[in-house]
């Protein structure tokens, strides 16, 4: 009895660990194959999510990335409580679970030998929402780029402003854009990479004002949510509405780049800047 049930549970568990079901084409992929392919479906090229540190490892040359400003974390300055509890409990649990201190990781390193400052948002941290700490890190990284005359790249992945910080989260849009404005004045390159999803207050601030706006295939990029728009106009929206392909067609994205090509794409673009 004991040996029998034990084998079945182990078998069940290992089966679940072995396969990944693609969210788009629903085909079953070996987990090892999925991971080797950078969380991209080998069948339909669906770009699944990756963590900020995984992206940093893909982007930077070995042993070149140094993290900066990771001493910044959220603060519940509004003492915000909803039905599920306090904002403070929510972010403390998130910090514990993810090991991240905010919704963005910032630092500098070399991309195929070219030095750059980067901010990589992480959707696992409260939906990548833009809070005061997030905005502060993005601004400080921009200031670092400004002071050291280095190109700045932001990878955005966010549901928008962080409601639990009220008006202070809205003001992060103006704060981060003020940092970008200084880079523009000093002719420091700023490249925005919009990852799935980039919506609301993040799309309506730093993510949309890159000298170049780049994206991955199939990323959701939007200002207002699909449901809100459907309610406003009272009709269904087309399937490809607000995807990176849709934005490319409408002139808001410069290029859609596959994850595996992103590093070479960025270093190639940066090599053109004659500074």
């Amino acid at each position: 009895m004991a040996w029998y049930s034990e084998t079945t549970t182990t078998k069940k568990k290992s089966k679940k660990d072995l396969w990944i079901k693609c969210k788009k084409c629903h085909s079953h992929i070996y987990k090892s194959e999925w991971e080797e392919n950078l969380n991209v479906c080998p069948n339909c090229n669906y770009h699944g999510s990756i963590t900020s540190y995984e992206r940093i490892n893909l982007l930077f040359d070995k042993n070149t990335f140094k993290e900066l400003f990771n001493n910044i974390s959220p603060k519940d300055s509004l003492k915000f409580n909803d039905l599920k509890g306090s904002y403070k409990d929510k972010y403390e649990a998130t910090i514990k679970k993810t090991g991240l201190s905010e919704a963005v990781v910032t630092g500098h390193g070399k991309i195929n030998g070219i030095p750059a400052i980067v901010a990589v948002m992480d959707f696992r941290f409260l939906g990548g929402s833009l809070g005061s700490g997030t905005g502060e890190k993005i601004l400080q990284a921009a200031n670092y780029a400004y002071d050291n005359n280095l190109p700045y790249i932001i990878f955005s992945a966010s549901g928008g402003a962080r409601m639990q910080e009220g008006i202070l989260s809205l003001m992060q849009m103006a704060k981060t854009c003020a940092g970008i404005a200084r880079l523009n004045k000093k002719n420091i390159p700023y490249i925005s990479v919009l990852i799935n999803p980039t919506t609301g207050g993040v799309s309506a601030s730093y993510a949309m004002v890159g000298d170049l706006n780049i994206s991955e295939p199939g990323a959701l990029i939007a200002f207002a949510g699909r449901r809100v728009i459907e309610q406003t106009i009272g009709e269904k929206l087309p399937d490809d509405f607000q995807t990176s392909e849709y934005l490319l067609e409408h002139g808001f994205i410069d290029s859609i780049v596959n994850r595996k090509d992103m590093k070479d794409y960025l270093s190639n673009v940066l090599s053109f800047y004659n500074r």
């Binding site: 103006a174 704060k175 004002v209």
Partner: protein, 291 residues
Amino acid sequence: MKQKKKMTNKKKSKKPALSAWEIVSISRHPKRPILQNYLSLIVKNFVEFHGDRYYSDDKAMIGGFAEIGGQKVMLIGHNKGKKTNENIERNFGMAKPDGYRKALRLMKLAERFNIPIVTIIDTPGAFPGLEAEERGQAEAIAKNLTEMASIEVPIISVVIGEGGSGGALGIGVGDKILMLSNAIYSVISPEGCASILWRDAKYAPDAANALNLTASDLLRHGVIDEIIKEPGEGAHTDYEAIAESVKKSVLKNLEILKKLSVEELIQSRFEKYSGMGKFSVNQSADRQVNK
């Protein structure tokens, strides 16, 4: 003893503070003065300019040269209506990308000829529609936030009614932000916040309270610079009085800003927005992560 009695009397005569939700209702009062009222009461010689030069003329956002108390300014603002037909034409003050692009065009014009800018904020939010997305609502607002950071003339923003999220901020990056005492300014509408975090829009009063969206909240959090006190039960009870207060406050703040050099102006604006927000700072622990 005598003194104690005096104090209790004082307490009694003071009206109880309005709840956040009551203030939301006043800010949306059907008779609340809108931009058009201020135009007729305190603005002389308004020369309206139309169009963003790309697509259309957005009637939800208007702008042009104007004189306030003898001071020549570029006046830009959300254009709500009162009657149904006005509100349909002006889209309830919800601007499309064309509106934000027109606003930026006029700000750039003002900058070239050293004319201070006054923006009047009163919108439920930027228009959430198909054509707005198609023409780049996010890009239009983002561009305004970025460009306004370095416009080389003073900018004063006045929140007169509803400050609806990115749609408000899109013309709201001022050197001085003034706000009427019963106006609101929020990252999301209380109804929207309630339907997401409380899973039901009927919790809007709770959300309104939690969001810290009143003028006194914003002053306390260092987001706005000054509260313009409304008369009586609210601005809708005395148009002349509130218009006069707005005019006085705008002119006073303009005098302060006009004393700054362009460099000082841009630097202080950068510092103002850099300083916004509250977060925790732990012991620095820079670390190497990639192998």
